[in-house]
Subunit: 349 residues, 2 copies
């Protein structure tokens, strides 16, 4: 039996870090030391782990001495600088930022889809983008049986994916709306993207920008969905396009997904595949108004799939509505699930 | 010159009716008598028209004696019963409900797209569904030059499309959220569809159901977008599919639209077409974070189009983001614009 595992959480005070702590509390991993790391600003503050107070330490390179597993979620810059330091000291890094995702040396893993890619790691494993992960859980079982030629996705993404400050900003705007302040006076300093020049209100609005704009009129978030899908499914031949939109939801990403399969599938065949797919839950009964909802997904690890129906004209076209907790399967849970899967595969030995 | 026109608004107290009054106040039509009609419950109450108090009358068949133009927005049942009564008494009816839309004897009109269809009327003209209208304004200029083979749309629809009570319900849920009431205790008696069995909260949620479910797993709202598009564009060969979703926005429908054209178009060619299209406004500059937003559309008659970009793989595939005030171009303004267009075409003489 392996000795106990020492685990570090980098970015422990963030929206995802907080959920990583919860997921680690529930984990089947044999835990030794658990270190909560954050910036100097948060160092010294206390959080609780399994009911015991735990002091947050300032992140430095030597924080990773003796650490077996480091879960990073503190921004791409922090991962770029400190993930190699953690690896140098013998830790396996599961990185929730986009920094290493498209690095050909770094596996990009959704455990339900491509766990075997974990065997190729060189110390760092990348956790895919939140909106990509839940789409993979829903589409992989279909791809395995019917093939996948094309994906067109429009997202309805929650604000917690932009961090705790963005959540507070949405709440503040909501209060300002109810107090009948004119929109021009609402607080708007963060969204749609903290790193961009202009900021717009999200309350009672829909913002078709997540992350910054990149080539060909697509945002980085859209390119992430396009490129990560091909890498995770290990098939550059799948045509993917995405429109990523932030809506006034706190937690729970929803996605309207259109796919074209290689072979014709019936709705019943697809429902049967989803019903037995790992990590997926079929919620699909129009006669009873049963379909996935963001509010219902909060706090759950699964990806919920419904509104499955054929395109009216395209024989191999199918539409789906896919919802998951963006902080859990989209981030903290998938990261920890990667670690648990590696443990079960003997990759920590 | 024609004598002055006597106008009746049926459903004057509703979310759309209120906007019809505003549109009529600004209209170029030569107005005579203006009658505000509603149910017995509202009769006797006062509204204002051009600064003058105006008493609401109870809707009865004889309300239409001497009326030239009747604008209906009081539900399909009211239109079914009273529109023929209005026509019998010599009025032209512009009906905002879905009741007559697919009747082959009834023109279904977006004035920017198919004004000539107005000449075929037999007393009733149908105003299309809100989500259909703005899509038509954006796509018709493209169709005229490059042809249109296929449309896949995912909507982000505002709650005012479901009426004033639904707006109040969303506000109430929002207050309950801010007061930290558990979701299970939020008020939810109307949405997603007043006429359906189950009701769900919309605040901080996305509901993939608008109107009730119909054949093949699609909702009525989705079938409206599919069928109305073909009728308005007078082309059954266009393949259309829709996923209609309600989000917590008060006013302003947004749409993520994917199209495939017959001939290949560049982004610049499409932008140039939208920039000069009637009723459309191009808002598309990613470098300046310029794109249509629901909050910015409120109170405006135009349809805003942006995020125009080619599909990464499909040469004839283009993505767009289209936003409009669902109560104005989606309902009250398009209805009045139909009447003004008929007046200009001499169809009231």
């Amino acid at each position: 039996m392996m000795r106990k595992m020492n685990v570090a959480i980098v970015g422990a005070t963030g929206a995802v870090g907080t959920q990583m702590i919860k997921m680690l509390e529930d984990s089947s991993l044999p835990l030794g030391v658990v270190k909560l790391l954050a910036s100097k600003r948060s160092a010294g503050k206390q959080l609780s782990f399994k009911g015991e107070p735990q002091t947050i330490e300032e992140l430095v390179a030597d924080s990773f001495e003796g650490i077996d597993l480091a879960l990073f979620s503190a921004g791409g810059g922090i991962s770029a600088k400190f993930a190699p330091e953690a690896v140098k000291r013998g830790a396996v890094v599961v990185d929730n930022t986009s920094h290493f995702r498209m690095d050909p040396e770094v596996p990009l893993v959704v455990p339900e889809v491509n766990p075997e890619a974990l065997r190729e790691h060189h110390g760092i494993i990348a956790n895919p983008n939140c909106s990509t992960i839940q789409m993979m859980v829903a589409l992989e079982p279909i791809r395995q049986v019917f093939g996948l030629k094309r994906v067109i996705v429009s997202t309805y993404q929650a604000v917690s994916g932009a961090g705790n400050q963005a959540v507070e900003e949405l709440k503040q705007q909501t209060r300002e709306y109810l107090a009948e302040k004119p929109v021009s006076e609402w607080t708007a300093d963060i969204l749609p993207s903290g790193g961009d020049k202009k900021h717009y209100p999200l309350a009672f609005n829909a913002l078709p920008q997540i992350d910054v704009f990149a080539e060909a009129g697509y945002t980085n978030e859209e390119w992430k969905m396009i490129n990560e899908t091909k890498k995770i499914m290990a098939d550059d031949g799948i045509n993917v396009s995405a429109t990523c939109v932030r809506i006034p939801v706190i937690t729970g990403h929803s996605e309207s997904i259109y796919i074209e399969t290689e072979k014709t599938a019936t709705v019943e065949e697809i429902k049967a595949l989803i019903a037995k797919a790992p990590g997926a839950v079929l919620e699909d009964d129009p006669s009873q108004q049963i379909y996935p909802q963001a509010l219902n997904s909060v706090g759950k690890k699964e990806t919920f799939v419904g509104r499955i129906r054929k395109d009216p004209d395209e024989e191999k076209g199918v539409h789906l509505w896919v919802v998951s907790d963006n902080l859990l399967k989209g981030a903290a849970w998938n990261s920890l699930q990667i670690a648990e899967t590696m443990y079960e595969m003997g990759l920590f030995e």
